[in-house]
């Protein structure tokens, strides 16, 4: 046995104390409330920024689809799961088709971040399980339907971009103010660097 050189009785005393301490910890935990959350019977509280299922959104005022088919999300997606076809029109462009392969999605939120119109967002739910993988190949209708079913996450493209680089003071009034206090000078510097890119 591990010996600390205290002799037989010293070792035996140490053994008894250590055994008692370890068993005491387990006994103390016997009295604690279990940490189990009985999901799905009990709802799981999602934080504001939860990255769940992806969805397409409609404009709040006009009810039109937000997506302009710019394909920025398609280009930035690391596993290339988004495929978009643009439909050109006079006033604005639309997305003719929009497919997202949810089974290969990494949930990295980069598509949400680049979207200029906050069209694609993530929901506060991860109820993704289906019996057939083909059901996870989401087309535009499914994506819009998901957008209406669950609660959206706080994070949209504009908010994420604003958080990462604070906007000019003029823009800071609109939308959620970024939680980090940015001085106007710093914001102007960012904008200058941005235009120089």
């Amino acid at each position: 046995m591990a010996s600390n050189g205290h002799g037989f009785w010293g070792d035996l005393g140490q053994l008894t104390r250590a055994v008692g301490r370890a068993m005491g910890v387990t006994l103390r935990n016997l009295g604690r409330k279990p940490v189990t959350v009985m999901y799905p019977d009990a709802p799981r509280p999602y934080p504001d920024r939860f990255r769940g299922v992806l969805a397409l959104t409609y404009d709040r005022e006009t009810g039109e689809e937000n997506c302009i088919g710019c394909r920025l999300c398609e280009y930035i997606c690391p596993p290339q799961v988004i495929k978009v076809e643009m439909l050109k029109a006079e006033k604005r462009n639309w997305a003719k088709t929009f497919t997202l392969e949810l089974y290969a999605c990494e949930f990295c939120e980069l598509c949400v971040q680049v979207c200029p119109t906050d069209a694609i967002i993530m929901m506060k739910s991860f109820d993704l399980a289906t019996a057939d993988r083909r059901e996870m190949l989401l087309d535009k209708d499914r994506l819009h339907a998901i957008g209406l079913t669950f609660e959206p996450s706080w994070a949209t493209g504009n908010k994420l971009r604003d958080m990462q680089a604070p906007p000019k003071p003029a823009k800071a009034a609109a939308g959620k103010a970024p939680p980090v206090g940015a001085t106007p000078a710093a914001g102007a510097e960012e904008k200058a660097k941005e235009t120089a890119e």
Partner: protein, 387 residues
């Protein structure tokens, strides 16, 4: 297949023995991932170890050549998936070094904050799985495992409130971080960290003087100082062998020089010493977290505008090596940039890859049961090993 030099066979003079070749195969409860160890046994004693890796190879380095600097940090977290924040940090700090990109002070402090929280979470997982290996899925090991996972869940909840994800974050970007702290997060973080510190006392009470634990870990898998330096270990392994080398002290990155913390060093070099080093690292990480929260400056979290397009970051020609102290050791990334939005070549130095090289040197001579104790104390993550 067998590398003759690494196959360190001990001749035990057994006389009339029969050598049994047992495969601790890629599918094994204690393989810590996918790892194949072909053990040659004489009775209960291991006389040779043949380690086979590569079961988790996913071509990270080639993948990095096809993804831009904006896209890759999310992927970088998948090398050391248990300690994702430090893996991403290795990549972005390498690219920032090559492109001489400034990182604002607040972003540096945030990076330190998440790296240290991640270290606590990773060590929680290490302790849990190591005790699970040693104590059995139906036994005391499982108890310590569930306690550690319970505490790790608290840190993952913190990360979930910060980024939205629990394991693979995509938190870092070139020039800073992607997310800032939401309202009320610092308060929750402080409470969580205080709570976990109390629970670490409980783990120590369960394990510290426990003769069952001591007899399993003391004197097992002794790595001498010379061997550690020869093989190229890093992280808690080399600090347990008496070498006080920590990248955060040797080459401070991301404002680590602003913080006051101790680098724990043990001399024994056995599993127990590695355990002690990591337990002390728990406390030191919590200490750093508190200092960061106290001294967090205001300011932007990125020196570049928010991610708007895939080719937005271009790094001029150059090459450089950025390294960080991950939970397992020195995680490094060597980037060769050619002026475009994608790196020309990327090379990962995985801490676990170098750490695993110690196994053929220290396992022979031990019993089969010690193999799991040693592997657990080396704490490999095969995302880093195979990339």
């Amino acid at each position: 297949m067998a590398d003759v030099e690494a196959r360190h066979v001990i001749e035990l003079g057994y006389g009339g023995n029969e050598r049994l070749i047992m495969n601790m195969g890629p599918q094994h409860p204690s393989a810590h991932g996918v790892f194949r160890a072909i053990l040659t046994l004489e009775g209960e004693t291991v006389v040779a170890v043949d380690a086979v890796i590569g079961y988790l190879h996913r071509c990270h380095e080639k993948l990095a050549e096809t993804l831009t600097y904006v896209q890759y940090p999310s992927i970088a977290s998948k090398t050391d998936y248990v300690s994702a924040m430090t893996a991403e940090l290795a990549y972005v700090s390498a690219v920032e070094k090559v492109g001489t990109v400034e990182v604002p002070k607040r972003a540096q402090y945030l990076r330190v904050l998440v790296a240290e929280l991640q270290r606590v979470a990773s060590h929680c997982l290490w302790l849990g799985t190591w005790c699970l290996d040693m104590g059995g899925a139906l036994g005391g090991g499982a108890t310590v495992f569930l306690y550690c996972i319970r505490e790790r869940e608290l840190i993952l909840d913190l990360f979930e409130a910060l980024t939205g994800a629990r394991l693979l974050y995509g938190f870092h970007q070139i020039g800073g971080t992607r997310y800032d702290l939401p309202a009320g997060w610092t308060q929750t973080c402080r409470e969580t960290v205080d709570f976990i510190e109390g629970r670490i006392d409980e783990y120590e009470a369960m394990l510290e003087d426990n003769p069952f634990f001591l007899v399993r870990t003391q004197g097992v898998g002794v790595v001498s100082r010379e061997l550690a330096q020869d093989v190229g270990l890093s992280g808690p392994l080399i600090r347990a062998s008496g070498v006080g080398y920590d990248v955060r002290r040797a080459e401070p990155y991301s404002s680590y020089e602003d913080f006051d913390f101790v680098i724990p060093v043990e001399l024994a070099g056995d599993c127990y010493a590695r355990y002690r080093v990591r337990m002390q690292e728990f406390r030191q990480s919590i200490r750093i977290v508190r200092q960061v929260l106290d001294g967090l400056p205001e300011g932007p979290i990125s020196s570049r505008p928010g991610v708007k397009s895939v080719g937005q970051v271009r790094i001029s020609k150059g090459e450089g090596y950025g390294r960080v102290e991950g939970a397992r050791g020195e995680v490094g990334c060597y980037v060769v940039a050619d002026g475009g939005p994608k790196p020309y070549r990327l090379k990962w130095r995985g801490a676990s890859f170098s750490n695993l090289a110690i196994l053929p040197h220290i396992i022979p001579g031990h019993k089969v049961a010690d193999v799991v104790a040693i592997m657990g104390s080396v704490d490999p993550v095969f995302g880093e090993v195979d990339r």
